[in-house]
């Protein structure tokens, strides 16, 4: 419980300071070009890693079949430009349906 509160407050404060610093310090400091390029890519690296590990692993081990299958269905739909809500519901429904059939 305490950990959750600390995480929320630390993220809130840090994020707000990043935003405010950018707005207030604009024109007074410039970021080096490589940092301007790397920051958005760092976002991609972290989110891709989170998504893939969450799709394929559970507590450090393989996550079975139903979950990756559901994620795969969602990704295919997203690839075909389906709305976000459709992607999420289809992924959940696929995994839930497979589990109903006894697939781990």
């Amino acid at each position: 419980m305490t950990a959750v509160v600390v995480v929320v407050l630390a993220l809130a404060l840090g994020t707000y300071l990043f935003r405010l610093a950018g707005v207030v310090l604009a024109g007074r400091i410039t970021l080096p070009a490589y940092l301007r390029r790397l920051l958005p890519l760092a976002t991609v690296a972290l989110l891709a890693a989170l998504a893939v590990t969450a799709a394929l692993t559970e507590a450090g081990r393989a996550a079975g079949v139903a979950r990756p299958a559901g994620v795969l269905v969602g990704v295919i739909l997203a690839w075909r430009r389906a709305p976000f809500a459709v992607v999420v519901v289809a992924a959940a429904a696929t995994a839930a349906g497979l589990r109903l059939l006894g697939v781990p």
Binding site: V8, L11, L20, L38, P40, A42, T53, G70, G74
Partner: protein, 232 residues
């Protein structure tokens, strides 16, 4: 401030409403997933109000659920560091007055920045920024609240496939950025490193190790003639 709302044309309202609906749907899934991870509902809602950054919130909830609060803070702040250069970009839009700066900074998210910068005139930019920021803030928090209520009502998240909804939603959000070849290389290498490290390293660390994927970005091409040197 009231003059801003009166002078917004229907096109801006329509675009802002479309983004708002999309963000509402993402907020619902965020709230449901966080509640399904057994985080207290009030903390999830507080996170959406106070942090107001979707990617970092998904990352933080994922790492908290895995038992790594330190990773959640570190990863979330790394994600949100990109808001610093975004702040440079919208500083003129927000203006020099401190009340506007203090409130406007909190409304700074990927979509409000992109939406504002897409407008051609300064006045339209200002309206677009405040309108999108306010609509997104309302939609994100309303969505989170509804999602928390739905997620808390689910006794067994796995039976409803919520564990599959989380990565699928994240990947759907990520897909547009992957059109850039450098981003694609970074994503593949980063995710691969994290996946290989997951069985052997404590929770949270593998995801942070994905930053090593940045080495695949190909920064040797930094000297490209098309690099932008204008102050952002």
């Amino acid at each position: 401030m009231r003059a801003i709302w009166r002078t917004i044309d229907p096109g801006l309202w329509r675009d802002a409403a479309a983004i708002g609906v999309a963000i509402f749907a993402i907020g619902v899934s965020f709230g449901a997933i966080a509640a399904a991870a057994r985080l207290p509902g009030w903390a999830v809602v507080a996170m959406s109000v106070l942090v107001f950054a979707g990617g970092a919130q998904f990352l933080a909830v994922g790492l908290l659920a895995a038992g790594s609060p330190a990773g959640a803070i570190l990863g979330g702040l790394l994600l949100n560091a990109r808001h610093l250069p975004f702040g440079f970009a919208v500083a003129e839009v927000v203006g020099p007055r401190w009340p506007a700066r203090l409130v406007g900074s909190h409304l700074l998210v990927d979509e409000s920045v992109a939406f504002a910068m897409a407008q051609s005139q300064p006045e339209r930019r200002r309206r677009a920024y405040w309108l999108t920021g306010a609509v997104l803030f309302g939609a994100w928090n309303a969505g989170t609240g509804l999602g928390v209520a739905l997620g808390a009502a689910v006794a067994d998240p796995a039976a409803f496939g919520l564990d599959a909804a989380f990565p699928a939603g994240l990947l759907a959000l990520l897909l547009p950025s992957l059109r850039d070849p450098a981003a694609r290389r970074v994503a593949v290498v980063g995710a691969g490193v994290a996946l290989l490290a997951t069985p052997v390293l404590p929770a949270g660390v593998p995801v942070l190790l994905a930053l090593s994927g940045l080495a695949a970005a190909g920064l040797r091409r930094r000297g490209d003639p098309d690099r932008r040197e204008a102050p952002a």
